[in-house]
Structure formats: structure tokens, C-alpha cells
Symmetry: C3
Subunit: 143 residues, 3 copies
């Protein structure tokens, strides 16, 4: 019987491991992870993403939700030091929103980290980052 219980525990453990994102997706935890994409060169979209992040934090509780905004392609302009929404980006980071810039786009646009708003996280690739988050069970929204 001990062996059986050990085997059962192993099955449960294995299952738990394998299905963990499924498990995330099931519970409140997924409700509290969201990655937002900004890939348009459109300050209206940038502001909408910032509003969305704030609303989600207000609705779910700032400490109960993890929000990441990923900017890539023409959306990278949102994160330049002279961006029209620089104030909003800073306010979002102050509220613990992770703001990520795509390194592939930066290279293509000849933008360095110094050209970006301070505190922005550089990720290897914007789409790769979004794929990674979805594979971890995060919800995805493109405002």
C-alpha cells in the first residue's frame, strides 16, 4: 500500500507539474497575470494600454495582479524618452507594471537603452516575450 501511495503521489506530482499552466488557467492566479501588446505607432493606443493596465490593477488590486506591457515594432516609440506618454509610462512603472521593449526592434530602429524612458526592461524579442507569457498561462490582450 505504501508503494501504491508513493506511486499515487508521483502521478499527482507529475500531473501537477505537467498541468501547472492548466492549473493556473483554472484558478484565480491566471486572472492576475496579463500581458498587453503595443505594436502600433499610435499615441491613442499607447494611452489605451496604460488605462487598461491601471483599470486592471484597480479592479483586481494592485498587489494581486501582474501586468506587463510589451512594446515592439512601430509601438517601440511609446517607450522613447521623448514619448508623448512618458509620464504615464513612469506612473505605470511606479505601480509595478513591467514595461518591456523589444531588443530586435531597438536594433532595427537604432534605438539604445539610453534613448528609452529610464526603468524600461529590454527583452530579447517582443513576440517571444508574449509567447513566453502565454505559455506560462498569462492572459493576452492587444488594446
Amino acid at each position: 500500500m505504501k508503494q501504491v501511495l508513493a506511486a499515487l503521489a508521483m502521478v499527482a506530482g507529475l500531473t501537477g507539474m505537467v498541468a501547472s499552466p492548466g492549473a493556473l488557467a483554472a484558478g484565480k492566479t491566471t486572472m492576475s497575470h496579463i500581458v498587453m501588446q503595443v505594436s502600433d505607432n499610435d499615441p491613442g493606443k499607447w494611452q489605451l494600454a496604460l488605462n487598461n493596465a491601471e483599470n486592471v490593477q484597480e479592479a483586481l488590486g494592485k498587489d494581486k495582479v501582474k501586468v506587463e506591457i510589451v512594446a515592439y515594432g512601430p509601438g517601440l516609440n511609446m517607450l522613447k524618452a521623448d514619448s508623448k506618454v512618458a509620464g504615464g509610462v513612469n506612473a505605470a512603472m511606479d505601480r509595478n507594471v513591467q514595461v518591456s521593449a523589444c531588443a530586435v526592434t531597438m536594433k532595427k530602429m537604432k534605438v539604445t537603452k539610453d534613448d528609452l524612458i529610464g526603468g524600461v526592461t529590454v527583452v530579447p524579442g517582443g513576440v517571444i516575450e508574449i509567447m513566453k507569457r502565454q505559455s506560462e498561462g498569462w492572459a493576452y490582450v492587444r488594446p
Copy 2:
């Protein structure tokens, strides 16, 4: 042996419970749940979302798919009583498509339920609604 089977049943049950969205994602059931986002102030996008909803219902069978359209931000205009696609929105609701309006946007735009097409569902937040649906295993499409 009885105890073992009971334990096995428990593991299976637990697994089923924990992994249920995964299970949803696996089977035909996810195929039949889709949430569509409308966040642009663009009648072309509104019509596309309505067409997409209809096509999905035709392809999978109206009674075998659950479709929800969530309008928020500048997309809320789609659901105003004087919307250019009011006829299409009514037709969608007649076909059991849930059409949802974001309460946060309504407050910001000073739009009340009376200003919207009759039958529209007001949800606490558009992005929150989309997160919730994804966490329940629904597919997400932004037309």
C-alpha cells in the same frame, strides 16, 4: 484494493478539477467558446467582428459555440443606440451572441445603459472580462 481505487478516483478527480481549463482547451469545448474584442472606434472593425461571430456560428453550429463580443475604450461607440451597426448588433444578440459593454469606459465617456442598444450586457471592465474568459479556456480574437 478498494482504498487504492478510491485514492485513484481522488487523484483522477483532483486532476480533473485542477486541469479542467486544460481539459477544456484540449477538447471540442474550447473550440466552442470565443471572446472577441472591439476597442477601436472604427465601424469597419465593428462589422468585421459581427461577421466573424456569424461565420463562427455558421461553421460550428449556432448551438455548439458560445460567442461574446466585448466592447471597451473607443470601441464602446459600437454599442450606442445610434451606432451604424445597431442592426447587426441586434441580429447578433438574436442569435445568442453575448454583447458586453465595459462599465469603466461607460463611466469615463458618461454613457449610461439607456444610451446603449437594448439587450447589451454591462460588464465591470472590458479587459477584466477578456482575462476572465481566457482563464476559463475561451479562445480570444481581436478582429
Copy 3:
């Protein structure tokens, strides 16, 4: 004990089967499946989707990632023989990106397979294809 192990194996098997997309979502395998949507009549968006596909293949390894681009609605123009990005579409297909055209849109726009770039896959419906891929655990990105 043999029966018990058989039952355990069955539970594990069942769980594996039921939770497989969850499992996919957990591991590296989901990292390597992505479906991209093109539904805008905007060559800038078409080029962005093609760039995204290439970047993902470069980052993860062309043989370790499955990429599909689904064009529907006004995005179908991307795949017409005279498309501004026909060269890029051909290059993507040469790199084993699946490029899919929505049959519902083709019918509506009176576009036949002969009007499309050679090698494009015709799928019954663009949104249905995207739903199917998400239900199989693929990441979804709308550039």
C-alpha cells in the same frame, strides 16, 4: 499490485490525454507554436507579421518553432498574387511558415485560389483556424 499499476498507468494516460494542451502550455513545446493573425488591409501590418515570423524563427531556431500566419477579412489582400509583400510571403513559406487564407473571405471577395500567391493554404475559416490553434495550445499574436 499489477492491477493497481495498470490503473495508475491509466490515470496517468488519461490525465496526459485530457491535459495535453495544458501540458503543451507548460513546456517548451508551446513556446514553439504561434499563430499570427492578419485582418487589416495594411501593408505595414503585413510586413510586421512577416518580420515577426522571421524573428521568432531566428530566436527559437527555424526547426524548433511552428509558425502560421492566418489572413482573413481585409487582411486577405496580403495573399493576393499582386500583393506588395508577395516576395516576403514566398520567403516565409520557403522557411516553412504556413500561410493560410480564409475561404469565407475568399468567397465573399470573389477571390479564387488562382488569385492567391502559389503555395498558400486555404482554410475553411480564418477565425475558426485561430480558435483551433489556440485550443491546441498555440500562442496567438495579432501584430
